[in-house]
Amino acid sequence: MNKYAIFLGCTVPVRAQHYELSARNVAKELGIDLVEMSGASCCGFPLKAVDAETALLVAARNISLASKIKLDVVTLCNSCTAMLSDAQIQLNTEEFHSKFKKVGLSYPHEVRVRHFVRMLYEDIGIDKIGEAVKKPLNGLKIMPHYGCHYMRPSQLYGFDNTETPHTLDELVSVTGAESVNYADKKMCCGGSVLGVDEELAIKMANHKLSIAKENGVDAIASICPFCTVMYEDNQRKAEAQFETQYGIPVLYYPQLLGLSLGLDANAVGLKFNRIKSDSMMEKLTR
């Protein structure tokens, strides 16, 4: 049995419940046990630009919760993954560990931190996922969007290829959908710039939206709530700023995977997506 502590962070449990719901239901289908992390807080990432060390302590406190129940951590947000992974590595240095102990925390058992999607790729594997696919998403064109902190910095992760990532492409393909290959796959969504210069952030998001449109994709597959904020919640703004029409659904990868595993639209929370995926779903029932 694959068993993990699930770290939700700030955004997913209140703003992206459909992501959480689909991930949990996919986990059930694939025999993955997700254990709650009672007392988990913000990952600490929002504090990093202000004071990296404080951010690391907040992150490390979350890791200590998983450490106490002796479970590796899976996360649903790219930035949470980066922040917790960084803290996990820092916990092995004497300097940081002593600061950590000073605030009354403990790390009794070594635990790993990975993105939920990476865990699917590494621990379940493409073959086993393929065997579980009951309703292949044949005929759909899906554009995978990795986001920055899924595989960068490589020093932290040592996973996938930072220039030409492929793991999410493979995970999309195994659902039966076509994973669209495109240039600039590693491009940032612009989310971190949103609070600083909205027009610039929208420009960055628009870049991939326009590539998605050129390729006639049925949906973008996202694995991070911030990227979804940029591509889905701000899609209207991009349309206005660039005087164009998109109407491109943005689904969380576990929603797509869930559909291919035979889960229904409710079980993957499809009605909570802001941009409706009716025409995509119609293709599937045809």
């Binding site: 939700l8 449990p13 929002p46 630009a49 920055c148 971190s192 710039v193 600083v196």
Partner: protein, 163 residues
Amino acid sequence: MIDLRKSDPQFKWEIAKREGGEGLLKCFGCSDCAASCPVRYFDERYNPRKIIRFTLLGMKDIVLKSPFLWFCAHCHACTERCPQGIRVAELINAIKNYAVEQGYCPDGYKMQLDLLMKMGRLYEVEDFDLKKRQRIGLPPIDKTIPEVAKILESTDILKVLKK
């Protein structure tokens, strides 16, 4: 114009001794970071190499007061490409941390700190959210996590922001 008479020779050492800043002196100005930077690609006012160059030259005021310092998305595209193995995103972040200590913290970050002090999270968990979670079959979550405030009180972060 850059006026070198206003340069602070200590500035680069202040940055280089910080976690993440250790690579600063190795920069040879190749611009690979700027070439790989997505923010730079869309807005030329932002340039990581320039920030690093000005830091090396001791142009402290220009670097710390520049609104563009905060344009860095911390995406690590530069880190992957730097031929000198400098953790460029962490270096820029170290400069941001130093700017905060020197009194230049954007309001948005202060607001986030307030939220974390109060709730341990960025978004309030309202009864509505808890009900929705229950309705769709998601487990309950903690509304507030007071332990976060304890950590924030134990470090210098509140003092720095003069809370």
